[in-house]
Each structure stands twice: as C-alpha cells, then as structure tokens.
C-alpha cells in the first residue's frame, strides 16, 4: 500500500527580530504553496505539513532550530533563511545530517553546498543590471550605505568594481550602520549625501531599518529625480513600511515585482489575497519562497521519496512556471535561472518595471569580476 502519511517539512522564517517583515512574507509565500499543493491532493496523496519555528533573525537560533528540525522533528527538507549570516549558520547542519535547505533570498554569491538549493538572485542576476542601468541614467559618482554585515561588504565590492569600469566612475563615500539602526543613525549619512551630491546612492541597508534611511532621505528634502537610491533589498515589503510617498522614485533590481503583468502572476496574487489578505506585500523573496516549494513538490513526485540521494537529482532537473517566468535549477551550481528586472516605485507604492530581461540569466555565483555592458545581460527597455 502506498504511503499516505503526512510529509513533514521544516520552515525557518523569522517573525521577530531585525528582518521579521521580509521573512514573514517568505513564510506566507511558503504556506500559500503548501496549501495549494494540499488542496490538490498533496504529494501523491500525502499531505504536506510545515513544522515552523521563529529563529528571531538570529544566526545562532537558526542553527539551533535547524538542528532541532532535523534531529527531533526528523524533517528531510527545510525552507528558510534570509540574511546570508543565517544561511551560514544552517549550512553545517544540513551538511552534517545530509538534508536539503531551500534558500529563497538574493545574496552575495560564493556559496555552493550539495545540500542547498538557492532560488534567490546571485550578483550576476541583479547587481550588474542595476549598476548598468543606474550609471547610464544618472552617472558614475556613487554613495554606498549598508547594514554592517557580510552581504553589504561583498555587494559593495562588486558595485565598486562596476563603478570603476566606467570612465569617471567613483565611490564618493561608504558607510555602514548597525542591523538594528534607528532613524538617528541616518541623520549624519543623509547630511553627508546632501554635501557630496552623488549621482545615485547604492543602499544595502536591509530589514526593518530600511524605512528609516529612506524616510531620513525624504525628510532632508533630497530628490529621487536627480539623486535616487538604488537597492537590491528594498522590496514591496520595505516600501509599505516606509509608505509610498517616501519610496516613490527610488529603484530596485530583482527577478520579481508584484506588478509583473502575466497571467501566472495574476493567478498566484489572487489566490494569495483571497487566502492571506493584506498580511504582507508580495515581493521577490516571497515569490522565490513560493516557487521553491513547487520545485520540491514536483521533484518529490518524480522521486517518490524525500530521501536526499534520490530527491536531489530530481530537484536539479526541475523547471517551474513561476510568477516571474519559467525558472530552472542549474545542476552545476544549485542556483536558479532567473529574470533580472529593474523597477521604480510609483506614487501608489508599486514598482513600475522599467527594464526587464527577456531571457532567464544563468546563475554564476563564483564570478569575481563582473563586466558592464555584457550583452548577454542586456535588459529590454519597457519605459523610461
């Protein structure tokens, strides 16, 4: 007789702590996919059951709870992690016990583990396109501001590298604030921006502190038309935290925006709103968290088991029609083929997509030197 027992999977998304808002959106994306799959009879009749903990945006709790999921709850597959520091904490656990982690967040690259599937953007799928776009529209004098941890350091290195490739390009200053930065932390930064007048600001401020930076910028009377903020992490969630008036005119590069006008995206958004209402704002991390559950479920159907040695080869052959377009796992490096896009926040707080890649870009997480003007990465202009 076929196994009809519920199938437990782990979910580690923080509902408290410095990145609670964005991780909560990832959690809801995950739960939506799980509910949809269960509504369609589960995986060959087996109901998916999420075992959830709140790791509170803290790497050591991530590590501890991942071990608990594996050793006590006995799950083979975990969905979760946002900051790369929390990914780093969970990696040794899934490697030690040979389990699988699905990681739905853009990050700075230079990772590969046999036990991890990366469904967020690598730098060659967002940073290059953002630098190219911002410098062609606004110029090459760039101010860097970020949260004080490893993702901003490496992202800024990549951005600086790209800026230096442009004649006359320069980094005018570089500042880091604590992860739990308060509005006060951005006062000096904004007045410095006012004095230095860069062409644009590259922000790698993450999490709930993001709103304080954009708000300080708006309160200082700076104008996004002449000196906008460009980011990889300011998504619809952070925009709704700061409000449309503060966010309007600033840019973000991501493979997904809720404003994508495709049948598949509309279907998923409708189902999400019916089920979860306005609990969160769909965004790129939410979308990756959503589609990666399907990558798992489809692979699981083909494999017939969630035993890692059988399941992993099936995941590595997966393709899925996600809200952003048809995504595919790259078997050589476990990252995902994604569609870079650039959005500008409009007066309603939605991202108007101004550039989009027609084709999925192959992930290249170990690229040290990115190049501006790589034609394979060229985006199509949708509107200016």
């Amino acid at each position: 007789m076929a196994n009809k027992d519920p199938l437990k999977v782990g979910a580690l998304y923080s509902r408290t702590g410095v990145t609670s808002a964005i991780e909560s959106s990832q959690r809801l994306g995950t739960l939506l996919a799980i509910e949809e799959i269960n509504d369609h009879g589960g995986i060959d009749g087996r109901e998916l059951v999420a075992i959830e903990y709140d790791p509170a945006s803290d790497p050591s709790q991530f590590r501890h709870l991942a071990e608990r999921l594996v050793a006590i709850d006995n799950v083979n597959v975990i969905f979760g992690c946002y900051m790369s520091s929390t990914l780093k904490a969970v990696t040794p656990i899934v490697e030690k016990y040979n389990r699988i982690l699905f990681y739905a967040t853009l990050y700075e690259g230079f990772e590969f583990s046999n036990n991890i599937i990366y469904t967020g953007a690598a730098p060659n799928q967002n940073s290059v396109q953002l630098a190219d776009f911002m410098m062609s529209m606004f110029g090459g004098r760039v101010y860097l501001v970020g949260s004080d941890y490893i993702y901003p350091y490496e992202s800024n290195r990549i951005m600086s590298d790209l800026v230096r490739q442009r004649p006359g390009g320069s980094i005018v200053a570089q500042r880091y604030v604590p992860l739990n930065a308060s509005p006060k932390d951005f006062e000096g930064i904004v007045s410095e921006i006012k004095e230095l007048r860069p062409d644009f600001i590259f922000s790698t401020v993450v999490g709930n502190a993001t709103q304080h930076f954009y708000r300080a910028y708006a309160e200082a009377g700076l104008d996004p038309k002449s000196m906008p903020v460009a980011s990889l992490t300011t998504s619809e969630v952070e925009v709704s935290q700061m409000g449309a008036a503060v966010a309007a005119g600033h840019f973000t590069a991501a493979p997904y925006f809720a404003s994508i006008d495709s049948a598949e995206n509309h279907r998923v958004l409708n189902r999400f709103r019916t089920r979860f209402g306005d609990e969160t704002r769909p965004n790129a991390c939410w979308e990756a968290a959503y589609f990666q559950v399907y990558l798992f479920a489809n692979a699981m159907r083909s494999a017939g088991t969630d035993s890692v040695p059988v399941l992993m080869p099936q995941i590595l052959e997966s393709e899925f029609l996600a809200p952003q377009g048809r995504v595919r796992v790259e078997p050589n490096n476990h990252h995902t083929h994604l569609y870079p896009r650039i959005g500008r926040v409009n007066s309603k707080g939605d991202f108007a997509i101004v550039r989009a890649s027609k084709n999925a870009v192959v992930p290249d997480p170990y690229l040290v030197t990115h190049s501006l003007g790589d034609w394979t990465l060229a985006l199509e202009t949708l509107k200016d």
Binding site: D148, R157, R164, Y176, N332, Y366, L367, T369
Partner: protein, 219 residues
C-alpha cells in the same frame, strides 16, 4: 571642501579592489590528478564552478601538460612510492595534495611531493577557493624570494671580487683602495661592462702575472 563627518554609530571602511590573483581565477589552468570517483568529480566540479580551466587525469601523467598553473594530486596510499621529481623542477607549478590519511607515513609523502597545501578527502566545496588562492599567492612569494636570493648572492660574490681586485691594484700600483675602485669603475664604463666583470678580469690576469713575477725573481 567637505568636512569629514562621523555619523552616529555609522562605520566607515574602504571597499578594496579584488586583487589580481582573484581576478585571474577564470583563466587559471588547473591540472587534477585524482581517480575519477565521486570525490574527484566533486573536486573538479567545484573548480569548474569557481570558473577555472580544469583538466583531470588518472593515473597521473609522467609529464605535466604545458602551461599548468596549479596541480591537485590525490596522494592515495598506493601513490606513496611514485616518482615526484617532475614537481620539483624550478618551473614546476604549486602542488596541492588531496589526502585521506594524516599519519606520518602519508605526511612524509606530502613533504616529498613538495606540496604547498593539503585538502582533506572527502573534498568539501567550502575551503577550496581559499586554498587555491593562498597556495598560488604563497608560491608566487616563494618564487620572488628565490629570485631575490639569487640576485643577492650574485651581488655578494661580485662585491667580494671587486674587493679582491682593489687589493691587487693597490699592491701593484701603490694606490689607495678608493683610487683602485675608481680605476675599476672607469674601466667598466669605458668597456660598457659591470665593475664585477672588470674585477674578475683583474683577478684572472693577476694569477697569470703572478706566475711571470715568480720567474723574474729567478737570479
């Protein structure tokens, strides 16, 4: 001019450019001598993910292919008595040993191989990039130091010869050491050779002249 400001709690640090040794990774030619098993495949694939040009062979080739920048060598117990001389030539690339044992017998072989670093088997993806970069950096440093040492040795030898030539000139012409040095420099400049070469000619000539002097002393 802009006044430097330190915003509250914000931290300034400098983004540094990736050093050339990291930029070179995509053109790096890596030769892997490892059995074509799961471990060997894992090693080759991670090197390919990093973006290196990888060639894998087993058993190890008697001669290294042209233009190899780094070699990974699986030092399995059956390779302990292999001939490692091709890795010891002056122009040999750095060798990283892949080891599955850490006993004195094996480590003795690592030393004999001339490995600059080891990677533990089973090979993990994490750590390979740093070992690759550090090994090349260290290898380059050692090469530069070897060249510098050779230059310094030559210089020291030259200085000794110049001193000897000075003494010969002093004895022969009754001039001071400084004057003797001046004569050597003048000669070197006229003939467009180094002072060391002039010094050597003086020493050689003196040996021959010395013999003549002996004969002239015969009554």
């Amino acid at each position: 001019m802009v006044k430097p400001r330190t915003p509250t709690r914000s931290k300034q640090c400098v983004v540094r450019e990736a050093p050339q040794i990291l930029r070179d990774l995509r053109s790096l030619r890596v030769c892997v001598f490892h059995p074509h098993d799961q471990d060997g495949q894992g090693l080759t694939r991670q090197l390919e993910r990093i973006g290196c040009q990888v060639q894998a062979f087993w058993p190890p080739l008697p001669d290294l292919p042209e233009g190899v920048d780094v070699v990974f060598f699986a030092l399995s117990p059956d390779m302990l008595s292999a001939d490692f001389t091709r890795f010891h030539r002056d122009d040999a690339p750095p060798v990283i040993a892949v080891i599955s044992y850490e006993n004195p017998t094996l480590i003795e072989a690592v030393l004999r191989l001339g490995a600059i670093a080891t990677v533990a088997s089973p090979v993990r993806s994490f750590g390979l990039l740093s070992v690759l970069v550090l090994s090349r950096d260290w290898h380059n440093t050692v090469k530069k130091q070897q060249m510098r040492i050779a230059q310094l040795e030559a210089k020291l030898r030259g200085a000794r010869q110049v001193a000897e030539a000075q003494e010969i000139l002093c004895a022969l012409h009754g001039i001071s050491k400084e004057e003797a040095y001046h004569v050597i420099r003048e000669q070197a400049m006229q003939k467009r050779v180094t002072a060391e070469e002039i010094a050597r000619s003086i020493i050689n000539a003196n040996e021959i002249l010395g013999v003549k002097n002996l004969r002239s002393q015969v009554p």
